[in-house]
Symmetry: C2
Subunit: 624 residues, 2 copies
């Protein structure tokens, strides 16, 4: 396996080669030299970068189609009848207040917001959701192939099953020794049954922690509502005007603080639990740890968008009969609907958070590195160092930061994959932003490994471990979530229903979606108002509501069945291992078996009788 031409610079060591040909912004359009990465950092790190590069490559078509869908939205913006109707409605639709003590407002005042919403919410989104669901299926299928090819090329296809040794911490604390049934050697042993009990106990703790996070989310929602009421009731007029802003801002701050605290506690707890579960190998240990932390982080990061997408504004009741939670009126979506709010939230996460993350990833290591150097130098000076000149490379390496492992890198990317697929119906631009971010991310991570942190101990791995299963889970969730988003949050179905049952040109659609406040409410406030719902004048769900509900549910069923069926067929059509690799593996197995037979003939270890498998001959277990 000679390195590709051009990477063969004489006189450079491996790290310098990597630094020149990989960890550079200028190389953004080049494939990564994975074999070199693997040779220097080991299979585990190389597999991460292989996955990251593969994922980024696959984001290209998704981003292209997403942008196209967005552009279609732009082009339809000014020809859309309901939006025009809404913007030119002046004061014909006076809307009921969105929160207690809020003012009445005019529907035409949110014209710009509704126009922005139309960019995301049109027929093309249905197509794009379908596209992304199948994209995710194919992405994972082809990653399986790529991963198998790499594992084979790097000779670690059966590393986990057969070759992996017990992790040192396990060996140190295992209570007994036992024969390893595969290699036939003595090694530390922990009874499977006790481990099972511990894993079960650990799962209970995880569930409890998740429950804490969810309870906390609910309390933040309550906090926002209470704060808004309290502030708006104060005498200070400036405060009153900004009531909801203040409430949501302080809510976010409290939220952030709690999340950070919980996160620290949780990661420490997960570490303790996973150690206590006594996993034999490093791979299993990391899988268990990863799963625990991922579940927590998933709830942490996704609970807010999930709340906005599926719960916020759904159980509000109607004017004069608002539903309450602990006596406080349930939150409504901001004017313009929840889908716009969700798109905003996603844009903030996809753009804002990623920019901040990347800046952090550039700056913080630099700062830490500088501090590390200062600290080490002063220590050296104390020790009376005189050998500053002519330092060996390992001494220079020691001045760098310790390598922090791949967990955070994976987590960031997998959460991003989740946002790209789960909420794609609300934000078709997400893949584009993910693509841009990842192009930077690859070289950023490469620089981090090559020039900012110490060379980590090379570890072997045969695949990306449990992350793959997490991705597969997210892919499933994505189909379900998109089905419900399109059916319940988007305007696609009400519009289609209106076109089909009333007017083909959508004239009057705005009026159709607005219910009239019940007479009692109008009388109490001395003015009438409208609100977004399909209800009769007495507040009961109208016939249209039930028709639409049936249509929405039918849409969910059809969408899920179609997507899951096509996904299943694609899954069956694409073999998990490329044929060329499979043939090589089988050839190897065939030769090995033949060699074993020859060996036995030579050394008289006893030829295999009949065609009984060999292991039976070895008398490893009782024969059934």
């Amino acid at each position: 396996m000679t390195p590709p031409e051009g990477l063969q610079a004489p006189g450079l060591n491996q790290r310098q080669v990597l630094s020149q040909h990989w960890a550079r912004w200028r190389k953004w359009n080049k494939y990564q030299p994975l074999d070199h990465v693997r040779r220097y950092f080991g299979e585990k790190v190389a597999l991460y970068f292989a996955w990251l590069g593969f994922y980024t490559g696959w984001l290209l078509p998704a981003a292209a189609v997403g942008t196209l869908v967005f552009l279609v939205g732009c082009s339809m913006l000014f020809s859309d009848t309901p939006t025009q109707e809404l913007c030119s409605s002046a004061d014909s639709f006076e809307m009921c207040p969105l929160c207690p003590d809020c003012p009445f407002w005019l529907l035409s005042s949110i014209c710009a917001l509704v126009q922005a919403g139309r960019l995301f919410d049109h027929g093309g989104t249905v197509f794009f959701s379908l596209f992304m669901a199948l994209w995710a299926v194919l992405f994972l299928e082809y990653w399986k192939r790529k991963s198998a090819t790499l594992a084979y090329r790097w000779g670690c296809s059966d590393y986990e099953d057969i070759e992996e040794r017990p992790r040192p911490q396990f060996a140190a604390s295992a209570p007994t020794m036992a024969l390893n049934p595969i290699t036939g050697e003595d090694e530390p042993y922990f009874p499977e049954r006790s481990r099972l009990h511990r894993v079960l106990a650990g799962s209970v703790v995880v569930v409890m922690m998740v429950a804490v996070v969810v309870m906390f989310l609910v309390s933040i929602i309550l906090y926002r509502a209470i704060m808004a009421i309290l502030v708006s009731k104060s005498d200070n007029t400036v405060l009153t005007a900004w009531a909801s802003r203040i409430a949501s801002l302080t809510g976010s701050v409290v939220n952030l603080i709690f999340i950070l605290i919980l996160s620290k506690i949780y990661v420490a707890l997960a570490h303790v639990l996973t150690r206590w579960e006594m996993h034999r190998t490093q791979t299993k240990f990391e899988d268990a740890f990863t799963l625990k932390v991922f579940i927590f982080q998933f709830v942490n990061f996704y609970s807010s968008p999930i709340y906005i997408a599926f719960f916020k504004g759904r159980f509000v009741g109607y004017p004069g009969n608002y539903h309450t939670l602990f006596g406080i009126r349930n939150e409504e979506c901001a004017a313009g609907g929840c889908l716009i709010e969700l798109a905003q939230e996603l844009l903030v996460i996809m753009v804002g958070k990623q920019i901040i993350n990347n800046v952090q990833e550039i700056l913080i290591p630099k700062l830490k590195g500088w501090w590390q150097k200062v600290r080490l130098r002063s220590r050296k000076r104390q020790a009376g160092a005189a050998m500053a000149a002519g330092r060996a490379p390992w001494e220079a390496d020691y001045e760098l930061l310790p390598c922090e492992g791949l967990f955070d890198e994976y987590l960031e990317m997998v959460l991003q994959f989740g946002f790209v697929t789960i909420f794609v119906a609300a934000c078709p631009l997400a893949p584009l932003f993910a693509l841009l971010n990842n192009w930077v991310e690859i070289r950023l991570d490469a620089r981090k490994f090559v020039s900012e942190s110490r060379r980590p101990v090379a570890e072997r791995a045969q695949d990306i471990g449990i992350w793959f299963h997490i991705l597969a889970g997210l892919k499933h969730l994505a189909v379900i979530s998109n089905a419900f988003l399109l059916a319940f949050s988007s305007d696609v179905l009400p519009r289609a229903y209106y076109q089909w049952s009333r007017a083909r040109d959508l004239r009057g659609f705005v009026n159709f979606t607005l219910a009239r406040a019940p007479p009692a409410f109008a009388a109490a406030h001395n003015r009438t108002c409208r609100y977004q719902a399909f209800r009769d004048d007495d507040g009961q769900y109208s016939r249209t509501y039930w028709n639409l509900l049936a249509i929405r549910l039918a849409f969910v069923i059809v969408f899920e069945h179609v997507v899951f069926s096509i996904g299943r067929v694609l899954d069956l059509l694409v073999p998990d291992i490329p044929e060329s690799v499979e043939i090589k593996v089988k050839r190897e197995y065939y030769l090995a078996k033949q060699a074993l037979a020859e060996n036995e003939a030579l050394f008289g270890a006893g030829g295999a009788k009949d065609n009984q498998p060999l292991a039976q001959e070895m008398r490893l277990g009782p024969q059934a």
Copy 2:
């Protein structure tokens, strides 16, 4: 692998041992001596019997729970308010005619039928559907384990992948020779690309044949309707009274004849197509043939129950505005509803067809065997035979019928599995009948193999082939079908809705489910009547209809998600290969690899560099 004690009868040959200890009714409560079966008939036959026995064993709990659910239905029969109301309604509900020129009828006249329906259709059925869906998941999971264990014990775990040779017919007609990349030997070769084209062309033919069957089903439905009208319009009063009976009877006969003809054509066609596709190994050939024939037989056998369960009586319109197909009014379900009709159909299939089948399987081989003997004897006499005494066993064997292979046996059982799982919501007794049938079936098939047909050429196999995937597909279909059956055909949801929204004791439920014929219809017929639907007096769907539709669809979504999720979790929790077998396989692989390394060191075949896999060393393909 010594045979179990008790089967070691001295002086008996293998066939006699099997005949004494296996192919006997008296042994119905004993496990099958699978190792002996395998030794005499080969792995393929042994795996069939292993599967059949395993399936029968798993039917036990299903049958027990199903019977329990049925008994619960019996016990609730006489305390059920709506049934009592219906039976005691006398002439208060006069119903509209079910077909053109049919008479008006009284709802109370179908009291017995509705009572029978209640035996199947109650809350317990929901539970049982759930139970059977999970039963199917677990059954397949544990069969995977059993199959892996047997394949390992019989030394054929990697038979298909590595050891299987080209089938002779393929070798004879393959256009070129090529190197087998696994064994490194020359063998006949057919280009993969051409095969793909042929498979695609074959699939088109299959789809066309399926379309023919469906078209034929529709034409039979039309035929029934037309016949009923023609006969009822004749002047003969006897004929008129029996109009619908005559129509459906002659319809069945025409149906049967066409099915038989199509079936013959189709099997012949499938054989030609599969041969033309040039599959390399016998296993692949059989898989391709099996899939083709199964698809056809599935449509053949299931189209009628599927039509009754999901289509019949759904698109009939309402009195005065009946929907038509080619000018003929759409069929309604018989009085009492489609679920009862479906249950009847299933009972006929499960009990009637199976009894007929078994009698056939006993009688026909006897007759054929007798005829075979007569024929052979007369031929022998012609040849002037004198050696009738002291025949060798193979001569006696030659007088038996040629063995017909396993295809029909598998097909029968897999179709039964489908009926047991797909329509279980309509007939909780199906597993019981399947169990009783299979207890007979095992010994019947054993007798057929041991004493009624010639010993087949022993074939190897590593599993039951594509039948497993067909079973997995049926399992998926079953969940979907049961969800829709419970939601749309059963009374469970309307009852629950009525209890929740109107009266807890279900009083008035019968009246609630009946719509009134529109005034125009009443005026035209000079009398008013009722019909089963949720419609307003003007024939439009009522609000209740839409409420219920939303509830039904929501039920489908919840049911499917719950069942598929639990199924998925079970799938993950149960390893596909028992740990003990997996360890042995890995041990074997480990030893083989070590032996290969030793071999190379001994014979200087060139030690593997670095940790490159061996096959690369063999220069089998270009190195990426």
